[in-house]
């Protein structure tokens, strides 16, 4: 009898967790859909165009129409492709992009899983994302796709190191790997947010985040003018849409991590306004706006320049600043770095 009671409790936990995951993923997917709309509108505005304006009021239904179109399309599997891996590619691209959200805190209490090693978990899970690209590129059995996969693999591995070091600075300042504690460490208004003492690391993290998500100006993995569409050139319909979803979910993830680690998460910038999820959303939206702005502004990096920037500029900057911050923490000015 007792064991059935245990089982019931376990089932309840599982169902409740599933509900929570659903509550997290559905708004995320909607966010992805409207991020594409925002991207087209904002870049249109920056390039003095109108952007989508036909489907629904001001084109607001455009993402829905796009989704329906992609779902109706046929998924073509090339005859020379490695069938199983070809289908596994997009799945492996989106799974880490969603799984990493489990530890992102939205407010003090609104987090799916408040674990001790949250920062490490995020780094580990996001490092898995590259497999989707590599497997897709290899399984397609196409030169362009393979070139895209190779570029992506080298690029992501290089920038992950700089990204990891930037996060080491954050965990030194917060003295915790728990993301909620990291936000708490920044309480006390705008001047206590980590982007001020760790400004170089913040910049490195932001730029490495753009590179990690294969966004312009680091989008050599797709590079439509040189290798057609890179790793997803053979994908069509929903399989392509999953890659697309993964890219945008990753963008929102990097923006959210930036918010949590450098911009004070849900904390209000001034003391007379209350903290709340509104701030979290505003800050994330701001970082996302930067992503779109970059895309509208910068031409694509050449491949060797990307490698040089990652290895010869970012990694030395982060190393020097970690040592500098660590040394400063031992002096009387240490409070500035906590």
């Amino acid at each position: 009898m007792e064991s059935t009671g245990m089982d019931w409790a376990a089932i309840q936990t599982v169902v409740w967790t599933l509900v929570k995951i659903l509550v997290l993923v559905v708004p995320l997917m909607l966010g992805v859909a409207y991020l594409t709309y925002a991207e087209r509108k904002i870049i249109g505005w920056m390039q003095v165009r109108i952007g989508p304006n036909r489907v629904g009021f001001q084109g607001l239904l455009q993402p829905i129409a796009d989704a329906v179109k992609l779902m109706m399309k046929e998924i073509i599997i090339p005859s020379g492709a490695s069938r199983g891996l070809f289908i596994l590619g997009p799945i492996l691209a989106i799974a880490p992009a969603l799984a990493a959200w489990a530890v992102i805190p939205f407010t003090d209490s609104l987090v799916l899983s408040n674990i001790n090693a949250g920062l490490l978990y995020v780094m580990a899970i996001t490092s898995m994302g590259v497999y989707g690209v590599i497997i897709a590129g290899w399984a397609s059995n196409s030169k362009y796709a393979f070139l895209g996969a190779m570029r992506s693999a080298a690029q992501i591995v290089s920038y992950e190191i700089a990204m990891g070091f930037a996060l080491v600075g954050v965990l030194m300042a917060a003295q915790s790997l728990n993301l909620t504690d990291i936000v708490h460490g920044q309480s006390g208004g705008l001047l206590h947010w980590y982007f001020i003492p760790l400004f170089p690391l913040f910049l490195v993290y932001l730029i490495a985040g753009v590179a990690e998500t294969n966004r312009a100006p680091f989008d050599v993995a797709e590079g439509e003018s040189e290798i057609v569409a890179g790793f997803h050139v053979e994908y069509s319909g929903m399989a392509f849409a999953v890659f697309f979803l993964a890219e945008y979910a990753n963008m929102i993830l990097v923006a959210a991590l930036c918010t949590v680690m450098f911009l004070g998460g849900w904390l209000s910038p001034v003391s007379f306004l209350p903290d709340g999820i509104v701030w979290w959303l505003l800050k994330t939206a701001f970082v996302l706006f930067l992503f779109l702005w970059f895309r509208a502004t910068f031409p694509r990096y050449r491949y060797d320049q990307i490698m040089r920037l990652g290895w010869k500029v970012f990694i030395p900057i982060t190393l020097v600043w970690i040592i500098f911050a660590g040394a400063m923490m031992q002096t009387q000015y240490g409070y500035l770095f906590h």
Binding site: A117, V157, G164
Partner: protein, 208 residues
């Protein structure tokens, strides 16, 4: 069977299967991907042991970086497995003997006589606020600091050696210094020539 035991057997079964496929898969890329699965599953098992730092680091380092480079290389090489498998049956007796020897050695040491639950009991579960990361950090930088630093220095030597071995100045390399590229001025690339835009009198009319 408790929930954790069920999870353990689930992960263990996947790990054994993945391990087997690493050596039996015909395609080297598939083999490498099974190795990735094996690492990931092993990380899951370590998580069950409350060693979350090691588990996550295994995923971060081995799955996220080492295996990506491994795949990178395996995908670029044209490995002919048929050639590699030549002489499999010739080597089988020697290999089988060594494998059996290893099995016996391990069975002698790792059997339940020395490591059974009655000899070494299951460790008591840690409270929820126990941080594996903190504990490991404390031990690494206090008790084992010399060993840790030594390992770091050895790794550094390995890095320097690997770079030194492959470093060579190529004469045909078209290396461009980006700093120079950035500093380029219009005058270095462009020459503006002044010339008359209107056709000279006489030649213009002659065409008509």
């Amino acid at each position: 069977m408790t929930y954790t035991t069920a999870i353990f057997y689930f992960f263990a079964a996947i790990l054994v299967f993945a391990g087997l496929r690493v050596i039996t898969a015909r395609n080297p890329v598939h083999a490498a991907l099974y190795l990735v699965l094996a690492f990931f599953t092993a990380a899951g098992l370590w998580m069950l042991l409350e060693a979350e730092f090691l588990a996550i680091t295994l995923v971060l380092v081995y799955v996220g970086a080492v295996m990506v480079l491994f795949l990178f290389v395996v995908m670029m090489l044209d490995i002919n497995l048929e050639k590699l498998r030549q002489g499999f049956w010739d080597y089988l007796p020697v290999a089988g003997f060594i494998a059996a020897l290893l099995m016996i050695e391990m069975a002698l040491i790792l059997g339940s006589r020395h490591f059974g639950l009655d000899v070494i009991g299951a460790p008591p579960p840690h409270p929820a606020d126990y941080s594996n990361t903190k504990e490991l950090g404390r031990v690494l930088y206090t008790e084992y600091v010399y060993a840790f630093e030594l390992a770091a220095v050895i790794l550094l030597v390995a890095i320097v050696a690997a770079i030194a071995l492959t470093l060579r100045r190529r004469k045909d390399s078209k290396y461009i210094d980006p700093a120079q590229q950035v500093r380029v001025k219009r005058g270095d690339r462009l020459r503006i020539v002044k010339m008359q835009s209107t056709p000279k009198a006489g030649r213009g009319e002659s065409g008509e």
